[in-house]
């Protein structure tokens, strides 16, 4: 095309300290186009969005809107430049009514009303406090508010994620018409179906760089997955030997999850976790994995379905109940689990010494022995044991696991336990989890680093859009296969691709 782009960002880079979140990202959006922005977790997508919307400023690079250079330092400036965003979380001020929210963003009311009606909400009361408006409707209001000021470029971040399907349809429809009117839309979504139906082109980010711009056409999913994975495709490993899905069928599973539902995020999840097994959970961000772990650890109440422990249906009213059933939760953020100012000893002793069901004095001799053996077993570096916050991230994570070993939990729920810790400690944690499994304990292991699945897990459950989309043995769960599955695509690639690695893993597909 010869038309000049409405939005043209080139060479955008951003460092957070020593970490390069973006190296060399570019994004060029033509008038009348719906443009998808894609990338795996950590590819720099959200950093680029933050830069475009003015939440953070880029270290280098240029952003042209309608050919004019703009320095975007705040959402208000982005707006004036003609770029308006609808964020993943609603941006309405919860304590103000809808009308005041419109005044705050200086949005004209009549066009707003029209868009709201068009988006399928006929009876909106502008006097209602935003807090009292259902979440899905709030997102629609956000979109209507953005449309009402007729932006040149509209950026939609996971717009349809929290919407019921009828509203989502309406939204896609409106977006399409927006493009037909000669405006541009940047569309961020994890759903290939939507992207295929809606978008004209896609820009793919990997490791902070734009690695490709592709036209959306039938079969382009494979090409996008390849771009997202890059050289990691070649690491796909062939070990079809242990590809048996039905491990230990027949015995009673340690934990059985049946049609579990939690709120709107987790819709229908069923799987078994057996004794002696490390079961991986893989999902893109925000697919309901947080809710799943919340329900299993007793901190969130499921809205439907059954959780069985050793064949018995249970209802956890409080994390204490889960702990009593021998289920321990190791959260992703170590700060959520540890008493940072307390000693290693105290932290490890907490779950079993401070048992909320027994108020008696603590047997300090026994406590000391148990803690010492746990520390030895995990090779925790105890030089700084006076305060947990002075330990390295890896050692902190070991402490969170050690306390549950000391408390003799039979099941450990690990939520991304290796995020942000050094390679050596990661390896130690892998070994530890494997050892625990060999002793007959069961481990549920959510990870955002797909290569860990084959290092640690026996089987892996893939969740997409709140539902289990695949359960496979770790042997075939290469990064490529998992990436495809986690975007809701069939696990084996179509042979259309020219990369040999894809073909290799292709043969492994048990279809």
């Amino acid at each position: 095309m010869t038309t000049s782009p409405l939005l043209d960002a080139t060479g955008v880079a951003k460092n957070y300290g020593a970490v390069a979140a973006l190296r060399n990202a570019s994004l060029s959006v033509l008038p009348g186009e719906v443009h998808a922005l894609m990338g795996a977790n950590g590819a720099g997508k959200s950093t680029l969005v933050k830069i475009l919307t003015g939440a953070v400023s880029a270290d280098s690079g240029s952003i042209l809107i309608r050919g004019q250079a703009h320095e975007i330092r705040s959402p208000a400036q982005a707006r004036r430049a003609g770029l308006v965003s609808v964020y993943q979380e609603p941006a309405l001020i919860p304590d103000l009514d809808v009308a005041s929210n419109l005044r705050l963003t200086r949005t004209p009311v009549e066009p707003f009303r029209q868009w709201v009606r068009e988006l399928g909400v006929p009876d909106l009361d502008l006097g209602e406090t935003a807090r009292d408006v259902p979440l899905a409707i709030q997102r629609v209001l956000d979109l209507a508010r953005a449309l009402a000021i007729e932006p040149d470029v509209l950026l939609l971040d996971e717009m349809t994620a929290a919407l019921p399907s009828d509203l989502a349809e309406k939204v896609l429809d409106v977006v399409r018409r927006q493009a037909q009117a000669g405006r541009s839309v940047i569309f961020i979504s994890h759903r290939f179906l939507e992207i295929a139906a809606l978008c004209d082109r896609a820009t793919v980010l990997r490791d902070g760089e734009t690695v490709g711009v592709v036209d959306i056409e039938p079969g382009v999913e494979e090409r996008i997955v390849e771009l997202m994975l890059g050289s990691r495709m070649e690491k796909a490993r062939a070990s079809a030997a242990d590809a048996d899905d039905g491990r230990q069928s027949g015995t009673t599973p340690r934990i059985g999850v049946r049609k579990l539902r939690v709120g709107a995020k987790l819709q229908d999840v069923s799987f078994d976790l057996h004794n002696g097994e490390v079961l991986g959970i893989v999902a893109l961000e925000g697919q309901g994995q947080d809710q799943l772990f919340g329900a299993l650890s007793g901190s969130t109440r499921p809205s439907g379905g059954v959780i069985e422990v050793d064949g018995q249906a249970v209802e956890f009213a409080h994390p204490t109940d889960a702990v009593a059933a021998g289920i321990a939760y190791v959260p992703g953020d170590r700060a959520d689990a540890l008493l940072m100012q307390q000693s290693v000893h105290h932290n490890i002793a907490l779950p079993f010494s401070a048992n909320p069901r027994s108020w008696g004095p603590i047997d300090t001799g026994r406590e000391r022995d148990i803690v010492r053996s746990a520390i030895e077993r995990l090779q925790i570096d105890t030089r700084a044991q006076g305060e947990v916050q002075r330990l390295s991230g890896g050692n902190q994570q070991k402490v969170t696991i050690a306390r549950w070993i000391a408390a003799d939990a039979r099941t450990i729920l690990c939520f991304d336990p290796t995020r942000g810790i050094d390679v050596r400690t990661k390896k130690e944690i892998y070994q530890l989890l494997r050892q625990l499994a060999e002793q007959g304990k069961s481990i549920l292991f959510y990870t955002s680093e797909l290569e860990e699945v084959q290092l640690v897990c026996d089987r892996v459950v893939v969740i997409f859009g709140g539902k289990v989309v695949d359960i496979m043995p770790a042997g075939i769960a290469s990064e490529a296969v998992l990436t495809r599955a986690s975007y809701g695509l069939p696990r084996d690639a179509k042979p259309a691709s020219d990369t040999s690695a894809v073909n290799a893993s292709d043969k492994l597909g048990p279809s």
Binding site: A55, I93, P94, D95, L104, D132
Partner: protein, 324 residues
Amino acid sequence: MTAFFRGKGWVTGLFIMLALLLVFTRVIQPNYGANDFGSLVRAVLPFAFAVAAQTVVVIAGGIDLSVASMMALTSVIAAAMMDGATEEFALLVVPFVLLVGLSLGALNGILIVVTRVPDIVVTLAMLFVLQGAALLVLDAPGGSAAEWLKELVVGTASVPGVPEAVTDWIPKGLLLLLVCLGIVWIPLRRSWLGLSIYAIGSNQLAAFRSGVPVARTRIIAYAIGGLFGAMGGLTLTMSTGIGAPIPGPYLLASVASVVLGGVVLGGGRGGLIGPIVAVFILRLVRTDLTLLAIDPNVAAIVEGTIMVVVVMLGAFLAMRGRTQ
């Protein structure tokens, strides 16, 4: 029901409570009259301005521990400047003192925004700084106030055409309070700035994304707090005729009235009328307890209990409204 308690219901409830208390006062002290009401208003004045200062800051999601010191400092500055000066000179003193309050409030805000030290720490530090500064200006109660300023809070308003039986119950101090608060609050409440103050208190990220300049708005909120604080300082000088460098009991009273007045301490919710009515209630309760000849120590316990019970009751009703 929930919306009712979040909005006008709370304020209506407070007005009813105040009315009942006045009736109760009349019952226990049959000759409680317009004069006594006048002195109640005079006693309430500095409290009311402290409450107004705290309210603006709390709505913006902050807290101002320096409000009582701010009042002490502005009060002694005013008293020291007017000492021995002409009546006309006071016309310059008043705007100057208000400007001092505004700037010191803004300084609070700037320190919080720039240093990123928590508001509670910054304003606590400011509490000591201002207290020291007040003692540097006047090391003992002293100074004086212009006669016309003192007149502003003495006696009742005379409105032509309205019978005296009515105007007897309208002390000048009450009018002064309403005018001073109204001049600042009403335009603020109707402006974009006012919306922004509620927005940053309600949800800072959403406010930022709605295009609100968060840092600037926070500084302005503290500055307005400082302005109200200076008004409070001036009323202290007006009603006593001197300046006292030691801060009065206004800090905790202001927080108490803000809470009782339906402003959520987390920010974003509430208005100015509620806390102002609440401060009247709390002072009147104290008057009643004195009239009943209850030990002042017991009276303090009663006051605290009332506060907790009322706030708990409100939360309970709001919660029931939500589950229905």
